[in-house]
């Protein structure tokens, strides 16, 4: 039994790692959503973190924890001057501006010869292990669980529900929104640093628009109203392709398109019928059973 379990663990070790990394990325989008801001710069922040971390271990020979610190710190520092002007924009416009930022980062890296342009950095030492990734997710969740129900948590909720009203109540909404953007940037950067040292390589095109869309989808499908929703979403949507690969031959559709089709359908169904995400499913089912 134990042997089978360890076999299972070895087979799906990398999947576990990806779940953790994707969870961090989903949380990086979630923290801004928690105060009602759709900021989509996380792919750019993750790219900055991944490159900073990879260069720190490979060129500067820094110890890995220090490199990870740098991975989180650099995007967080970039987020401050980015956020000050950009956070004045609302709704879709904030999303567009931050998408623009992410693309500028990606294209800057493509044009940077020192890091091999579009080919990216390869042969990064594998230093990130499953337990480190899990620890990062656990610490993040702990911090977010402390925020919930605190003065900070209520302030964020107030801003999400009605920003002008929150300001009238004396909540400095810009400061909170900036803090969440910086926290999201740090989380994305940390995930990028972990990913670089988990998959041995980083390339700018791994951090394009479709990557940040993935992060948003994880957060929305899991549920963007509770802090553990994005983790559930990342877990569900990271495991789903593994399952679909087995199912694909049975339904006669190629695994690639099938994965996209199911992802799209899941996202559409969730946004239409489960706006609070998969984590609200048990409650919804209970309510339905209670009131026939």
């Amino acid at each position: 039994m134990l042997e089978q379990l360890s076999d299972l663990y070895l087979t799906y070790q990398s999947t576990l790692g990806y779940i953790g990394i994707n969870a961090l990325l989903a949380l990086s989008v979630y923290v801004s959503l928690s105060c009602g801001q759709l900021a989509l710069g996380s792919a750019g922040f993750a790219a900055l973190g991944a490159y900073a971390g990879a260069l720190a271990t490979m060129k500067a020979d820094l110890p890995f924890p220090l490199a990870l610190l740098l991975s989180a710190l650099l995007p967080a520092l970039v987020a401050v001057p980015l956020g000050l002007p950009v956070l004045r924009l609302k709704g879709v416009f904030l999303a567009i501006a931050t998408i623009g930022f992410g693309e500028v980062v990606r294209l800057g890296l493509v044009n940077w010869e020192y890091v091999n342009g579009a080919q990216g950095i390869v042969a990064i030492p594998q230093k990130a292990s499953i337990w480190m990734i899990s620890l990062a997710v656990a610490v993040t969740l702990y911090v977010l669980s402390r925020v919930r129900g605190s003065k900070w948590g209520f302030a964020l909720e107030a801003i999400r529900e009605d920003e002008p009203a929150a300001r009238t109540m004396g909540i400095p909404s810009t400061r909170y929104k900036l803090a969440m953007l910086v926290l999201g940037a740090a989380l994305a950067g940390l995930a990028g640093g972990l990913e670089a040292h988990f998959t041995f390589m980083v390339a700018p095109n791994g951090f394009g628009f479709s990557r940040v869309v993935d992060m948003l989808v994880f957060a929305v499908v899991g549920g963007a109203q509770l802090f553990w929703g994005p983790v559930v979403g990342a877990g569900f949507l990271t495991v789903l392709p593994e399952v679909l690969r087995e199912v694909a031959p049975l339904v006669g559709i190629e695994p690639g398109p099938l994965r996209m089709l199911v992802n799209g359908l899941v996202l559409l169904l969730v946004i239409l019928y489960l706006p609070a995400g998969l984590v609200s499913l048990p409650r919804r089912l209970r309510e339905r059973r209670a009131a026939p």
Partner: protein
């Protein structure tokens, strides 16, 4: 120099066509329809399939455009109408349009595969007069036709929006859906019409793009999608003349950047421009001076 102007105008006319439909819906509903690029792509595949079955391109083009328009109606019905009453409808709509785009791309990928598809040889009549000399550069008849078709569609849309009853209804809904409803406008119908026109224009842009570059793949919409966003913002939210102007400006700029700085800098311009405009001049080139409240 002349050659670059021609190439820039040509590229710009396709950007303009794409962005025009994009901004029509964006202006009316305040919803970013991220499935617009998927419609652009799928229309091209439909045209290729029709031509492959022996349909003449002059029939295949309108058929593909019609298909795109109908797909727009389906999108509106499935992905946008159910969300309209929600308070966060613009973010929810963005997400549901992403879902729709993923589904469309998956279907195309399953039917046609990931490889590059091309229009069969001889789709467009070839001849010795194919190349014309103009402004010190050469221009193909195809390029001229595309610029002309794009120009015609822009004029037709302007007429439709400014002069017809439907156009007035759409503009009324853009101003205030509630007031429009009070005044007897069928809001649902006006919005559906906007989606039909928007998607048809996107489809036309796609087919023309496919004919021009003849390299058609399920992910061809991705590059244009973000460029289209840049064009809308540069032109000014909801401003159709702005979108056309910005489309041409972006096309010309890109061509000159490629010629003078190299191809890898091309996309930096549009995104850096997008970003700077949003931060420094959020109303774009021709947009009205309104605050960007969601």
């Amino acid at each position: 120099m002349g050659q670059q102007v021609i190439n820039g105008l040509f590229l710009g006319s396709i950007y303009a066509l794409f962005a025009l439909g994009y901004t029509l819906v964006f202006g009316v509903l305040d919803i970013l329809n991220l499935a617009h690029a998927a419609v652009f792509m799928v229309a091209t595949f439909v045209a290729v399939a029709l031509v492959g079955h022996g349909v003449h391109i002059l029939l295949a083009l309108p058929a593909a455009v019609l298909f795109a328009g109908l797909l727009g109606l389906v999108l509106e019905r499935v992905a946008f109408r159910p969300l309209r009453a929600r308070t966060d409808s613009n973010i929810a709509g963005l997400i549901s349009s992403l879902a729709a785009a993923t589904i469309i791309e998956a279907v195309v990928l399953e039917i046609w595969g990931p490889n590059i598809t091309r229009f069969p040889f001889g789709t467009l009549p070839e001849g010795p007069t194919n190349q014309l000399r103009l402004l010190g550069g050469t221009v193909s008849r195809l390029q001229l036709t595309i610029i002309a078709v794009a120009g015609l569609l822009v004029l037709a849309l302007t007429w439709l929006v400014q002069r017809t009853r439907l156009g007035r209804e759409v503009r009324a809904v853009a101003e205030s859906p509630r007031a429009a409803r009070v005044l007897g406008v069928d809001v649902d119908r006006a919005i559906a019409a906007a989606f039909f026109i928007s998607s048809a224009l996107g489809g036309a842009g796609g087919v023309l793009y496919g004919l021009a570059f003849n390299s058609i793949s399920p992910d061809m919409g991705r590059g244009v999608e973000l460029k289209g966003l840049a064009v809308i913002i540069l032109g000014g939210m909801g401003s159709m003349p702005g979108a056309v102007l910005a489309g041409f400006a972006l096309g010309l700029t890109e061509v000159f950047v490629v010629a003078n700085l190299g191809g890898s800098w091309r996309d930096v311009i549009s995104f850096a421009g997008l970003f700077l405009f949003l931060v420094l001049r959020p109303r774009g080139l021709l947009g009205a001076a309104v605050t960007r409240e969601a």
